[in-house]
């Protein structure tokens, strides 16, 4: 049952991720990206990390992607026009892709050959309590630094978007 769910939602995630690139319309790409986020959230749920799963949906699918879609609508971006591929891409594309996939496989084979399989169902690290405890004890400094970083980004956005004062 676990394996079935994993295969279905991992499949959806991969297909949607490929679809992000293949779609010609920006809105369709953005919606495919939401599909990726949603199916990854389901995979988190399978690992027993309910809090992470919900945070994934709220933050990425619910907030970040809404802003993406919002901006795409505001810019009224139309479907992109396909031009013919350049001869280097046509010649080298498939061999380069094959080489890249082979390299990744080889790397995993070498680096993680003795890794056990991921266990579903008895993982207990994803509750809100354990995440919060880890954030405010072990990872306190990175957490605070990240929040300052986000504050800097907000201030930068306001400075850039502000109208010139006369």
């Amino acid at each position: 049952m676990d394996l079935l769910f994993f295969i279905v939602f991992a499949g959806i995630a991969v297909v949607s991720a490929v679809n992000v690139v293949l779609q010609r319309h920006p809105i369709a790409s953005a919606l495919s990206l939401i599909g990726v986020m949603g199916s990854i959230a389901v995979l988190y749920l399978q690992l027993g990390a309910e809090f992470i799963a919900m945070a994934q949906v709220i933050v990425y699918a619910g907030a970040v992607m809404v802003l993406f879609v919002f901006v795409i609508m505001l810019l009224n971006a139309g479907a992109e026009v396909r031009r013919g591929r350049s001869w280097t891409a046509q010649l080298l594309g498939i061999p380069a892709l094959a080489a890249f996939v082979g390299l990744v496989c080889w790397f995993f084979q070498r680096g993680f050959s003795n890794a056990g399989e991921v266990k579903f169902g008895n993982f207990t690290g994803g509750s809100a309590q354990s995440v919060g405890y880890a954030l405010f004890t072990e990872y306190l400094l990175p957490f605070e630094v990240t929040s300052v970083l986000i504050l800097v980004a907000i201030v930068g956005a306001i400075v850039l978007a502000r109208k010139e004062m006369d």
């Binding site: 319309h25 809090f51 919900m54 945070a55 949906v57 699918a61 907030a63 809404v66 505001l74 809100a128």
Partner: protein, 396 residues
């Protein structure tokens, strides 16, 4: 196997009840607004217009669905589906009462008790904006696009104070499961004052309750925050190009969102199914008394009819109310019906407030709307959260 059968039965009951409530909520809204404005409201189809929702449903199903030219048809049809799906699915984690025991089987009055239930509701409601935004964008209409854009901006903005307002009672309850949140509000201070979050120590959550309700109005696109469908500027906003069942889907989504917001407010702030005062002082007799009074009023007006058909319709309602009142007094049904009654009473009152506000307040201007969210509600919610967090930390 038993689990699956019970869940299927519960799903069927909840879906049926919810859809009926959504249809009749619209009747209630039209009636209440009519009486506020000294009109009759729907009164032709059935006694007191009670069959009007059925007539509306039949009308919406049998109407021709018109698809305007040059729309992006996939997204155009996906949008209402998304909106209504996200609106209806959040009912699945809301607990209505305690346990039911039928023979050897015991089941909670709730579809599923997620231990992150409140986060599930937040995530689903944050996904609901896609339905409206896509509808506005794919309709190929400038009014619809403006409505969709307004709605996205408004829902993102009001989600912040709403989430912050939710966090404060969670700090007091110390859990994310909706059932446990309600259970943490059981009991009474000084023997009479309920320990609901709006009365609870160390810091009564009355402010976050108000902030939650105000952002709830904005999240459901209701007056005074119904800028996405402001009739006198945008014709009908994001759903201007929709007709027939696709239009009905948006309509249903709006009412389902209202029901969700009111249920969440009841569960988080008003103690869910816990009565207003202790059982020792007779809170179990409130429901039969109200129903008995309603039945008596119906019978009285049936005997002194103001309209010819009242002589036949009102006694029937009276008998129905008397029957319900009797049902509330049956001893072995009381532990099931009383929590349900208190939950429905509180949720129903909040829904009435939604309708009441619609009949009372005018619409905001757009810049006022955004300014109110970012300069008014957001700092207030943040301050409330800080004080609550500080006091909870001091107490523990």
């Amino acid at each position: 196997m038993v689990f699956i059968v019970i869940t299927l039965i519960k799903t069927a009951i909840i879906a049926f009840v919810l859809l009926t409530v959504l249809a009749y909520l619209q009747w209630v809204e039209r009636k209440v607004i009519a009486h506020v404005q000294v009109r009759m409201g729907p009164s032709r189809v059935g006694p007191h217009g009670l069959l009007q929702p059925l007539a509306d449903v039949i009308k919406l199903i049998t109407k021709e669905g018109v698809m305007p030219s040059d729309v992006n048809s996939f997204f155009y049809l996906l949008a209402p589906f998304l909106a209504v799906f996200m609106a209806l699915i959040s009912i699945s984690v809301i607990p209505f009462g305690t346990q039911i025991t039928i023979g050897p089987y015991t089941t909670a009055m709730q579809l599923t008790d997620l231990n992150v239930g409140i986060l599930f509701i937040l995530s689903v409601s944050s996904m609901g904006v896609y339905g409206i935004a896509l509808a506005g964008w794919s309709s190929n209409n400038k009014y619809a696009l403006l409505g969709g854009l307004r709605s996205s901006a408004q829902m993102i903005s009001y989600e912040l104070p709403m989430s912050l307002a939710i966090v404060s009672p969670l700090l007091i309850a110390g859990t994310l499961s909706l059932r446990e949140i309600v259970n943490s509000q059981a009991g009474y201070n000084f023997g009479v004052l309920p320990k609901w979050a709006i009365f609870a120590g160390p810091f009564p959550q009355i402010f976050s309750f108000i902030i939650f309700m105000v952002s709830g109005f904005a999240e459901t696109n209701r007056i005074p925050f119904d800028l996405p469908e402001a009739e006198n500027e945008l014709v009908a906003g994001f759903h201007v190009e929709y007709s027939s069942m696709t239009f009905a889907a948006f309509f249903m989504a709006e009412y389902a969102n209202m029901v969700t917001v009111c249920s969440i407010a009841t569960l988080l702030f008003l103690g869910g199914w816990h009565p207003l005062w202790p059982v020792e002082y007779g809170s179990n007799f409130v429901a039969p008394l109200i129903l008995f009074a309603a039945g008596a009023v119906c019978v009285y007006h049936g005997l002194n009819p103001a309209r010819p058909f009242d002589r036949y319709t009102l006694p029937v309602f009276g008998v129905v109310f008397f029957g319900l009142a009797g049902l509330m007094l049956v001893p072995f049904l009381v532990p099931v019906l009383m929590p349900l009654f208190w939950f429905l009473a509180k949720t129903g009152f909040l829904l009435f407030v939604f309708v009441w506000v619609r009949a009372t307040l005018p619409r905001f201007r757009y810049d006022q709307l955004m300014g109110f969210a970012w300069k008014g509600l957001f700092p207030a919610a943040l301050l409330n959260l800080l004080i609550t967090g500080f006091l909870v930390a001091l107490e523990s």
